[in-house]
Symmetry: C2
Subunit: 232 residues, 2 copies
């Protein structure tokens, strides 16, 4: 009931065969296991990442995983870090669009402020876009023990070297620098903003908004970001 049911993998699939084999037998089984875990997480969420199914997909016997991870929890941690990195990249893409929009402009005071606001919004928009596009990975990245150890894992960083949490923090710092956010509200701002977008994501992914259509969801996303912008 609670467990996720998945068609078994063809044991002949995902074998390395003629590919380069930089490592011992399999050729980077560790990576293959994380990839299989990501695939499972992408398709069916974090609950589907089972050691036996992961090794099955990697074309390897179950206990082979113990050469690379102490136990299932460690494997899951690695998968979570990868999912976080993918979230970070989604946010970075939105940030890049803001950068492009303002590049070449003479940065007057009002423009500095507009850009700072746009960056905070971009961070939120990237977060939501990732949730809609990769619901399974989103839930893997931001569910039970987020931020515990996975958040600190360097593998959780995006291209810029920052993880999702750090991207939000940087955007808020700029908002303070631009004078649009009183310094003493800064620490709470982090979680207030995050709460809003995270809550919407949860309501859509596993709550009463599950049946909602895409246009409605996008409009709600915009409304939530409006609220954050006004409310911070």
């Amino acid at each position: 009931m609670d467990a996720v049911h998945i068609p078994l993998a063809d044991p002949m699939k995902n074998r390395p065969e003629p590919a380069p084999r930089p490592t011992y037998r399999h050729g980077d089984l560790r990576r293959a296991l994380v990839d299989a875990g990501l695939e499972l997480a992408r398709e069916h969420g974090p609950g589907a990442v089972a050691l036996r199914e992961v090794t099955r997909r990697a074309g390897v016997v179950p206990n082979a995983a113990y050469r690379h991870f102490g136990n299932l929890a460690e494997l899951l941690q690695a998968v979570r870090a990868s999912a976080l990195a993918e979230a970070a990249r989604s946010m970075e893409r939105e940030l890049a669009a803001v950068e492009a929009q303002f590049s070449g402009l003479r940065m007057t005071q009002p423009r500095l402020l507009a850009r700072a606001r746009a960056r905070v919004r971009a961070v939120g928009a990237g977060y939501l876009r990732f949730a809609w596009k990769e619901p399974g990975l989103f839930r893997t990245a931001f569910s039970p023990p987020v931020g515990a150890a996975a958040g600190a894992d360097p593998a959780a960083a995006g291209t810029s070297g920052r993880n999702p949490f750090e991207l939000l923090g940087a955007a808020l710092d700029e908002l303070v620098a631009a004078g649009a956010l009183p310094r003493q509200r800064r620490p709470q701002a982090e979680y207030v903003a995050w709460s809003a977008v995270h809550g919407l994501a949860m309501l859509v992914l596993e709550g009463p908004l599950k049946p909602a259509a895409r246009p409605q969801i996008d409009q709600l996303g915009a409304s939530v970001l409006d609220m954050v912008e006004r409310g911070l």
Copy 2:
């Protein structure tokens, strides 16, 4: 790993014995099962509500549950509805405090508006209070298939006969009536407000704010409600 581990129940506990037996053998086994399910959910969250453990706690053989529920999912549905009802009661308690505060006052226009705002805030505060006080039940009430069938279940209602979602809706209706919320923003307001408090609850219960201390959490709760009030 994923599954929740719980000390086994003493099979001699929770037996009806000399208590009134309005029904057949056990005396309302259905209720006993739901109660045991609630206890499990309260202590360890929705994942801990297993048919075998529930029947064990009710002092009955596993398959006895099938006299009262078609399967585990139906049992869980009933437990969820009860958890939702408890959430509704938490919100109703906060609303009652607002009522008391305004009772006996001559309802001028500004007071009507203040009361409408206070009611929306009370709904949010009751939601958060329930999350902090009963995290296991909160997650049971508002996680995976919330609103699906459980939301419509009459057993999900509080003392007023309204479920949590309806309580929020009513408060927002009054905000529109008081002129503090443009009518066309009303439908989105429902989910925008909910997103903010729900997100905070999730970050605290199973996110990066898990280690946060109570005063910090309460302050964040106030900040989120402030943002909602300004942002709606």
